[in-house]
């Protein structure tokens, strides 16, 4: 019996997403499902989904990253500067991805070689990086791509949705392949489940940690590029709330924040979609901001409580 309950629980997040969609479709009088709304949802889900998908590897291996927002805005700002200097999107793309991977490598090496509570490190790193972004921006408050060497091709709303779809699907399939059909996926699950067993099974702990952070960084780099192209004005606080948004998304996606074998790639996608539908629905209902935030908090706490029904320890968790 226990095992069947386990499989049923796997579908909870999807069920949760369905409930949110139905609820807000009714609450917004069907506006949620209008073509404009669906395209807008896609444009909004892209950034959170890209970062959340990558974070499944980072959180899955038992690490915790609160510096997602700062890394994203730093990569986007530098990508913007590269585009202004060279006028070529390709260079901007390479800079976004390259810098983000560099930051991911830095965090990965720190996680493997320095014995320290990583989540405090990432919180401090977050504030350090956003200060560094401000420092780079100097006295310009944001990077404006309109003063690039060659003007950027301008994309319409629906063209932008197509680009987002292509980027999201390609990165999602890459993550799927990495997670299910390459060693890194299983190694992340085992490492997150029990680090001692992982080491005794010959899993190269350091390599897996660095690999997880690099895959995460790839997601952040892609998200930075997509936002850069779409918004064209990048400030230091471009995605400052990404850290908490991704955490809420992963929880709504059914991913245990302590990582381990129950981590699933779908948690990134389902979670990001759920948080986007939740935010969009609440805004479209024109509710008071405080009510929106309380509603989001209650949904978050309920989902976290339901997802963690299984384990009960005698000692209080730390």
């Amino acid at each position: 019996m226990k095992n069947r309950w386990e499989t049923i629980k796997n579908y909870f997040p999807l069920l949760g997403l369905l409930i949110l969609v139905v609820f807000f479709s009714i609450a917004t009088g069907g506006a949620l499902l209008s073509p404009i709304s669906l395209q807008s949802l896609l444009n909004q889900v892209i950034a959170t989904a890209l970062v959340a998908l990558g974070s499944v590897f980072v959180f899955g291996s038992g690490n915790f990253d609160m510096s997602l927002g700062a890394c994203l805005s730093l990569s986007a700002v530098l990508g913007g500067m590269a585009d202004i200097a060279t006028g070529s999107l390709i260079v901007a793309f390479l800079v976004c991805i390259g810098l983000s991977l560099l930051l991911g490598l830095l965090k990965g090496l720190f996680a493997s070689f320095v014995d320290v509570p990583l989540f405090i490190v990432t919180i401090v790193l977050g504030s350090l990086l956003s200060a560094f972004t401000l420092f780079i921006l100097g006295d310009a408050s944001a990077v404006h791509l309109k003063d690039a060497l060659q003007p950027l091709p301008s994309f319409s709303f629906s063209q932008m949705s197509v680009i987002n779809l292509v980027v999201l699907l390609s990165y999602f399939s890459l993550c799927l392949v990495l997670f299910l059909f390459m060693p890194i996926g299983r190694q992340v699950k085992i490492l997150g489940g029990n680090a001692v067993t992982a080491r005794q099974s010959g899993i190269p702990i350091k390599k897996v940690k660095v690999g997880a952070f690099l895959i995460g960084a790839l997601g952040i780099g892609l998200a930075a590029f997509v936002i850069l192209v779409r918004v064209r004005n990048i400030g230091a606080s471009t995605a400052s709330s990404m850290g908490t948004d991704v955490m809420i998304a992963l929880v709504l996606g059914g991913m245990p924040l302590s990582g381990g074998p129950r981590s699933r790639i779908s948690a990134g996608l389902v979670g990001a979609t759920s948080i986007t539908v939740l935010n969009a629905g609440l805004t479209m209902m024109g509710l008071n901001i405080a009510v929106i935030q309380i509603f989001r908090a209650v949904v978050f706490l309920v989902v976290v409580y339901v997802a963690s029904m299984t384990y009960r320890t005698r000692l209080l968790p730390r």
Partner: protein
């Protein structure tokens, strides 16, 4: 105690998933509210608790007694990406227009709103928002400084001049976001410096940044150590009053800043602490309602320039140097009684539905008549 009890009940009610109680009131099309069908408008906001935003919210509630529109207020949007998401959500929610009170995405935001079939109000002051999109029919335009120079520069100049007229010679300048390159702070700062130089006053200390950080507290204390007799702010100087009191300098330093009109300021001006305040008039943002309603109800053409470009309504702001004006303006904004800076009747004079042959210039004259006497004269008719 009763008040808090009812509040706690409300909170527990909300926690219990009871939704929709706090929504805007239902739209009644038949009872003389214009237009017949409710017009939904999205308001792009960055600081949900800013005094000016709260003043605008109460002004809109006043307008809603006569005009049939609903506002979706955004959360604190701190980036262009978040702004785009909000604009798209408003389109999905069936909004007809966006008020760009705050604009991070520059002309891209206007283009996005237009792409989604929504009118866009705002940003006319800012060339790199206005120029690229001025001929876009969905861009209704916005307000622009009545005087020749830019309104932010004017604000800074008014603050500096108020101090010079009050005899300040050694002035502390609070530069706010100038070091971070935030444009309107830079312009206000330049305005202050020009006024001070013309008046022969010298800057004894420049304090960057915002309250809340240890660095700001350190700068603030160092500034209060100087023999300054004046404080010029590129934003509100309210957060200096308490430290001046703590440093025993209350009264020695004359203050002028960019403030939102309030009861408190009346007392401070009477006490000779505040000698000048430049204040944007919250009701000025009410201009968005007639312009949007005109566009929605087919009178959009009349409020554009002859060459078809988006209309730019000249507006003036308040330069307040005496407590009487401050008291009068405070009463106007407080909403007691029906007297407002721009009352419903004033707005009707520039709305096609009520006055079909209104022109863009009529709007400019209405929104430039903002001195206490001009407002009294208008309401006397």
């Amino acid at each position: 105690m009763k008040k808090t009890l009812s509040l706690l009940l409300l909170i527990s009610l909300l926690l219990g998933f009871a939704l929709g109680t706090a929504q805007a009131e239902p739209a009644l099309s038949e009872d003389g509210r214009f237009p017949v069908e409710t017009v939904k408008i999205g308001f792009v906001n960055y600081d949900t608790s800013a005094e000016q935003v709260l003043a605008i919210q109460s002004y809109f509630e006043y307008l809603q007694t006569a005009f049939n529109f609903e506002v979706i207020w955004s959360e604190a949007l701190n980036s262009a990406a978040a702004e785009f998401a909000f604009i798209e959500q408003c389109a999905a929610a069936g909004c007809k227009a966006i008020i760009g009170y705050y604009n991070e995405g520059k002309s891209e935001s206007v283009k996005l709103a237009a792409d989604l079939g929504m009118y866009y109000f705002g940003g006319a002051v800012n060339a790199d928002i206005y120029e690229p999109e001025k001929n876009n029919p969905f861009y209704v335009g916005g307000y622009i400084s009545g005087a020749e120079q830019d309104e932010n520069y004017l604000a800074g100049y008014a603050v500096g001049k108020a101090l010079v007229d009050a005899g300040s010679k050694k002035v502390i300048v609070m530069s706010g976001g100038k070091d971070f390159g935030v444009e309107f702070f830079v312009k206000r700062y330049n305005g202050i410096m020009d006024a001070l130089n013309e008046g022969g006053a010298e800057v004894v200390y420049e304090v960057p940044g915002w309250p809340g950080t240890e660095a700001f507290a350190a700068h603030q204390t160092a500034a209060l150590q100087t023999e300054a007799d004046g404080l010029a702010g590129t934003l509100t100087c309210m957060m200096w009053l308490q430290p001046m009191q703590n440093a025993g300098k209350m009264g020695q330093i004359k203050v002028a800043g960019i403030e939102t009109v309030s009861e408190g300021l009346v007392g401070l001006m009477q006490g000779g602490i505040y000698v000048g305040a430049f204040s944007e008039i919250p009701d000025m943002f009410g201009l968005s309602i007639p312009m949007i309603l005109n566009a929605v109800t087919g009178y959009g053409e009349q409020q554009r320039n002859p060459d078809g470009s988006a209309g730019r309504v000249k507006v003036l702001n308040w330069v307040i140097t005496n407590p009487e004006d401050m008291a009068y303006f405070a009463k106007l904004l407080s909403g007691e009684g029906d007297e407002r800076v721009f009352s419903i009747e004033d707005l009707k004079t520039v709305m096609g539905a009520y006055n079909p042959d209104f022109t863009l210039d009529d709007m400019s004259t209405l929104y430039s008549a903002v001195t206490a006497d001009e407002i009294r004269a208008r309401h006397a008719q």
